[in-house]
Amino acid sequence: MVPATIIRLLQLATVLAGLAAWELAARSAWVDPLFIPAPSAVARALAAISGPALAGLADTLAKTAAAYVLSVVLGVSAGVAVGSVRLLRDVLSPYVIALYGMPKILVLPWIVLLLGYGTAPAVFYGTLHGLFPILVLVTGAVRDVDRTLVTVARSLGATPWQLYWKVLLPAIVPSVLAGMRLGIVFCLLGVLVVEMFAGVRGMGYVMGSLANGFQAPELFAATALVSATSIAIVLGLDQLNERLSRWRG
């Protein structure tokens, strides 16, 4: 087994080699810097656009947070309801699967027609994206809760409230966390798509206008900023997840 340090070094070397090759290719004009600017130009552009980009990012993240809270609350509560009532689950599951898999962008023009431009369609569409993965995971987890646990708790005289709170909820925590990890990326995706399609503010709008203005270095800088933010959020959630599972034992 190769030690982890070597792996880390190899990863670092890969990134550096990639950046160096890219810089070289752009400097020696193997690629058109109009379309693929050198990393150094991107870094300069990042400094130049940091003001509006950070404002846009803050706007996007605020909408994402709203959509995320809605997705988690609706997804978990609907998941518990659908998962624990057999009839509901049988009737609704094909619809849920279909809605989960369908390209939601097809209804985006309609959402924009109904909700207008700005925050409301972004939050709605972000929720639409984040809700279904959480709903599907939680429904499955509730369905698969160990029947024996439920029977034992019932026969020991647990009230329905206690049954949900003490048996069901602890059992589905891992799935809720997995759903929350998936959901955040989906929410951010949804918000960015709306901003690109019909935005007036936010990072998606900024990126869309940079692309239309052929400002490649600035666009690459904005893309890197959003990607890094997203990776940081997901890694943060992973960390939190790990802490929680250690705490749960």
């Binding site: 190769v2 792996i7 190899l10 990863q11 890969t14 379309f35 693929i36 009839l87 049988d90 009737v91 609704l92 094909p94 619809y95 898999g101 369908m102 390209p103 962008i105 097809l106 209804v107 985006l108 023009p109 309609w110 027609l113 109904l114 990326v185 989906f186 951010l188 995706l189 960015l192 798509v193 690109m196 399609f197 998606g204 990126m207 869309g208 940079l210 692309a211 052929f214 490649a216 666009l219 690459f220 893309t223 959003v226 990607s227 997203s230 990776i231 997901v234 890694l235």
Partner: protein, 248 residues
């Protein structure tokens, strides 16, 4: 039986509620089903959009090319990373980390680079399909029991035989699942790309109808596009079943 009836009843109730609410509110914006049916008829008879067959064909072609590229590159990268332990351990997590980025952030760059024509949609569909296929191959290669490979080699099986007789059957489930997810995502990538800006294809027609507030036509076009999505998924599930039967 009862469940099926309830499912259909729910669908009917939703459609009825939509019809009533749509008529009461604003039929132009709410597009009740009764407005969609004539629009769909006009669309399919090529009255409202005579370009429909050409646009549909373009979208299907974009999906096909994007998916073919994603499968080729995904299988190549996946096997390369899977066979080489060191590279796999170093680059696998990096690919997985990129998967944590909402893919649409790449689209403006692709649009800038490839323009508004089919190429940018193909590139985006490729990008979306590539990741799940690569990761599925990586996971699949790891599922193969190395002792089986060793034993097969010891009995004199060649590399090709080992691949088809030992590795492929034991990783087939994961691999086929990844290929199916890849197709679904390639389809979504092409559709998203077209709606975010295209000169032709179903997305361009949808944007045209939406821009002119021809909402009935818009919903009809969405339904036709959904037919591509559902069709591709049905095709994929048939192929998946076939592959599973072969492996058993």
């Amino acid at each position: 039986m009862k469940v099926t009836v309830l499912r259909l009843a729910l669908l009917a109730a939703l459609l009825a509620a939509w019809e009533l609410a749509g008529r009461a509110a604003n039929p132009l914006l709410a597009v009740p089903p009764s407005a969609v049916v004539p629009a769909l008829r006009d669309l399919l008879l090529l009255r409202s959009y005579p370009r429909l067959p050409a646009s549909l064909w373009l979208t299907v072609r974009e999906i096909g090319v994007a998916y073919a590229l994603a499968v080729a590159a995904g299988l190549g990268c996946g096997f390369a990373l899977g066979m080489n332990r060191l590279l796999g351990r170093a680059w696998g997590p990096m690919i997985a980390a990129l998967y944590a980025v909402p893919a649409v952030v790449w689209y403006p760059s692709l649009m800038l680079f490839f323009g508004l024509d089919a190429a940018s949609k193909i590139a985006f569909g490729f990008l979306l399909g590539f990741f799940p296929i690569t990761l599925a191959v990586l996971a699949g290669v790891r599922q193969v029991n190395p002792q089986l490979v060793l034993v097969a080699r010891a009995y004199g099986a060649g590399v090709v035989t080992v691949f088809f007789r030992v590795m492929l059957p034991s990783m087939l489930f994961t691999l086929v699942g990844g290929l199916r997810t890849g197709l679904a995502l390639s389809v979504i990538g092409v559709v998203v790309g077209e709606i975010l800006g295209a000169k032709d294809g179903m997305g361009a027609l949808i944007n045209h109808a939406y821009g002119l507030l021809r909402t009935g036509d818009y919903v009809a076009l969405v339904l036709v596009t959904l037919a591509i999505v559902v069709g591709s998924d049905v095709l994929a599930s048939l192929l998946e079943r076939r592959a599973r039967r072969w492996s058993e």
